[in-house]
Symmetry: C2
Subunit: 196 residues, 2 copies
């Protein structure tokens, strides 16, 4: 019989695991490191997650839900579409800066570490990147009608994808430079060029 | 006394380590995996590399020298500057496609896995990204004079950096989609928007 699930233990495993994997990467974070950080016995890990890969997918989901709740609403706030998109990416960059650019974006980190090897993680990354793309594309679309200011010769979904990809590349470089310069040039060069 | 260095053993360690780390990541590739793949005794690893991090920096150097020799010359070939830049990134994408988009770019992979934690690797990544940027910037600059076709209102170095960053983001997404779509939209949407 499966052990009774304790939502508090699951929550602690996710929170501690997210911090560890975000900082050190997936392969470098052992199950024991995660259970120690969560303050639960090592054996309890597999009562909550069928595999370490399933756990990786769960922390990605946890990470993304938080961004979706707190930051995606900026895309529906006041201002023109390009201003709202800039404000959203600026807020994301603020979060990276608050960790001294040491962590980067968990979605990007996991894409490169596990995108090529883990199907459960790849499925979760696909879902997140699609949802993220839809949110940006909705905003782009609203700027492509009337006097919204965004040229309509390119599809909104395609523009949303290149924006997200260019932003992930900026975050990647920011982890090497440990500075906001790549995020800043994404905002001042890439965004205006794509949302002309 | 240090053991006599055998360049062939060093070369085999670098080649085998590059393949393993490119496919599985740095933390997931153990020293024994690397020496087994190279067909040398485990103990010989530290005769050639003072640490696993120093080894990571050496395989990055090995990876980049190869790109520099084979692909960077495309930036100095015939055609307009924007055509030469497009041809260079197209050739890089061809290499990623030949590995079914499972590996991605080692520079990007290592930036996210080790950029935040390893100083020797971060120093090597900085050197590579700077050299890469200088090569692209030289090409951009040649397209910004006379009727070269690239607008001169933005600095060549800044444009080179955003191009490399957007390309790394495309490669990141390509590892998740396992398709050429992100590379293609980098070429058809991002490149022309930035090199207008």
């Amino acid at each position: 019989m499966p052990r009774p699930a304790n939502p508090e233990v699951r929550r602690r495993l996710l929170a501690a695991g997210l911090d560890l994997v975000h900082e050190h990467g997936f392969a470098a974070s052992g199950v024991k490191d995660i259970t120690d950080a969560a303050g639960v016995p090592k054996g309890s890990f597999y009562a909550y997650f069928p595999s370490k890969e399933a756990f990786a997918a769960a922390i990605l989901q946890h990470y993304w839900s938080d961004i979706e709740e707190r930051l995606l609403p900026l895309l529906d706030a006041d201002g023109s579409a390009d201003e709202r998109i800039a404000r959203f990416f600026h807020a994301l960059a603020d979060e990276h800066e608050s960790a001294d650019f040491l962590l980067g974006c968990l979605v990007g980190n996991m894409s490169l570490e596990l995108g090529g090897s883990s199907e459960p993680v790849r499925a979760e990354l696909t879902r997140i990147l699609d949802r993220w793309g839809e949110a940006i594309a909705g905003c782009v679309r609203s700027g492509q009608v009337g006097t919204g200011g965004i040229a309509a010769d390119l599809g909104a979904s395609e523009l949303a994808s290149v924006l997200i990809e260019a932003w992930e590349g900026a975050a990647l470089r920011g982890k090497v430079t440990r500075s906001r310069a790549p995020y800043d040039r994404f905002e001042t060069v890439t965004l205006p060029a794509l949302l002309r």
